[in-house]
């Protein structure tokens, strides 16, 4: 079954720039997909449309049965609760501890305190940070901070995990650690992962599905794809 369906989608920004032209995609539940392309290729726009930060100008984006384009501003939270999002810059709250940062996501949606505790500890265990629950973000390395943000993204057990350049700020070694964590989440929790990146090594090593975008056009969508330089 397809978790995501993108049909004839076009995205034109208000300043006249067209980021995506007539895009069609179907992504299966449980898959691990890389979105690659140079800057301006539209990969960030695609990710943003999946969590309704941007609305498509034309066409239809369906995520987990929700028609994203037709979703009213007031109802966007319903979509957001179905997915987790990880950014390049972690987006953690500096004043809160690791535990509190992850728990924050559940507090915001009104979970019970006991449930929060169980889920947060499980998520932190999954990313390998169980021994750092009481640290503050500025006491952690970049890789660890990114793992906190992954824990926050998966704590509510979403069907879909969107990652926008999660390894962009990390060195190759830490990047591979992150990729291992993501791969485990994909395998153990069955979470569908879509990750925008321009890290060639990672893409080539992971051998997952690859969507290649260039100047807003879909170049190809391969199983076990590789990073192809001519596409960039």
């Amino acid at each position: 079954m397809d978790l995501i369906r993108v049909r004839n989608v076009e995205k034109k920004y208000k300043n006249g720039v067209t980021a995506i032209y007539d895009l069609n995609l179907a992504i299966e539940k449980g898959s691990f997909v890389f979105v690659i392309g140079g800057s301006g290729s539209g990969k960030s726009t695609l990710i943003k449309m999946l969590y309704r930060e941007e609305k498509p100008t034309k066409g239809q984006v369906i995520v987990g049965g929700l028609d994203v384009a037709k979703l009213k501003d007031k109802k966007v939270y319903k979509l957001r609760r179905k997915l987790g999002i990880v950014f390049q810059d972690y987006r953690l709250l500096q004043k809160l501890t690791v535990y509190e940062n992850v728990a924050f996501a559940l507090e915001c949606i009104g979970e019970k305190k006991d449930d929060i505790r169980v889920k947060v500890l499980k998520a932190l265990e999954d990313v390998g940070l169980k021994n750092k629950v009481h640290s503050y973000p500025d006491q952690l390395s970049g890789g660890e901070q990114q793992r906190v943000s992954i824990a926050r993204a998966i704590v509510n057990n979403p069907k879909l995990l969107l990652c926008d350049e999660p390894t962009g700020n990390l060195d190759p070694e830490k990047s591979m650690e992150i990729m291992k964590v993501l791969n485990d989440i994909n395998k153990n929790r069955g979470t569908t992962i879509i990750m925008a990146t321009h890290d060639e090594k990672i893409v080539n090593k992971m051998k997952k599905q690859v969507i290649t975008l260039k100047d807003g056009h879909l170049v190809n969508f391969k199983q076990k794809g590789k990073y192809e330089n001519e596409a960039i």
Binding site: D73, V76, L93, F104, I109, G110, K112, N156
Partner: protein, 299 residues
């Protein structure tokens, strides 16, 4: 249960935010305080004006003087006609003799002068004191009475009292204007205060939105914060109303300048006014923060 939990969280966050941004909160609380003090004074002033305008209106009487040679029977006819007028609520009749006695009682000078007149050539006249139902129609009623046969002169409090009432009612309108303007200024100030606290928490809000917090969850703490600011801001104005007005009332023994201007008795007036001020404070805080937060909820 879930709603209750979210609400408790909102209230906790709101208090935290007030304390965390203490100097900013203090600034807007003092702005609200000053505004509400003026609002309180305006409410007290306008309520008092309204009160004594009503008192004066209640006192307004048409005095009907009959011709000197009117006999009892003719007076009866006049009485009959007055009693049939639709705007007349009450009337009393005083003969020359009654008037004389009354005046003699009032002052020594009158007493000695009036002594010299006997009933036959007294310059005093028989009078009717007429009260009307609708004060605005007092003029036409007076004119109607004047047309009745044997009525010589009709007087009602057209002069000074009339002017005073119009003057005070325009003062009342001006105070309403000032109160509305001040409330608008306060709302504007609260919008800005809350905007500052929001921009300090922009990051937090953006993360809340990403993890799927509903607008209600994001908005409520800020709206409660505005209400708390409004509540704190109304403390001093309420104290001023409660103790200030009572002291003011006692100092002037319930009358201002003359017995004509009667002040409103403090109880329960001060409680009603305080409640109104608290209500205005909370409402103003709520409106201000609601409009400040709206901009940040667009996704």
């Amino acid at each position: 249960m879930k709603l209750f939990r979210m609400l408790a969280r909102s209230i906790r966050d709101a208090f935290k935010s007030v304390i965390r941004n203490f100097s900013l909160s203090l600034a807007s609380i003092s702005c609200i305080t000053i505004t509400l003090i003026i609002v309180a004074l305006a409410i007290i002033a306008s309520m008092n004006v309204q009160n004594f305008t009503k008192e004066i209106e209640k006192d307004m009487t048409i005095v009907v003087f009959l011709d000197n040679d009117t006999d009892e029977e003719e007076a009866k006819i006049v009485e009959n006609k007055i009693s049939k007028m639709s705007n007349v609520s009450k009337y009393t009749f005083q003969t020359k003799k009654d008037v004389k006695e009354k005046m003699q009682q009032e002052s020594e000078v009158f007493n000695t002068v009036l002594e010299t007149w006997d009933d036959e050539n007294s310059p005093l006249k028989d009078t009717f004191q007429v009260k009307v139902k609708n004060i605005e129609k007092i003029k036409s009623t007076a004119e109607q009475i004047e047309k009745i046969k044997n009525v010589s002169v009709v007087r009602y409090g057209e002069g000074m009292v009339d002017k005073m009432v119009t003057a005070f009612s325009s003062i009342e309108k001006v105070t309403y204007g000032i109160v509305i303007a001040l409330i608008l200024v306060t709302i504007f100030l609260i919008i800005n205060t809350i905007k500052l606290t929001i921009s300090a928490r922009k990051r937090e809000i953006s993360i809340m939105r990403l993890v799927g917090a509903s607008n209600f969850t994001i908005k409520t703490p800020f709206i409660i914060e505005g209400m708390i600011l409004g509540m704190f801001g109304s403390i001093v104005p309420i104290l001023i109303t409660m103790y200030g007005y009572t002291a003011f009332y006692k100092h002037f023994n319930g009358y201002l300048f003359s017995e004509l201007i009667k002040l409103i008795v403090p109880e329960p007036f001060i409680y009603q006014t305080s409640l109104a001020i608290l209500g205005i404070g909370i409402l103003v805080g709520m409106i201000g923060s609601a409009s400040a937060v709206r901009k940040y909820l667009k996704i």
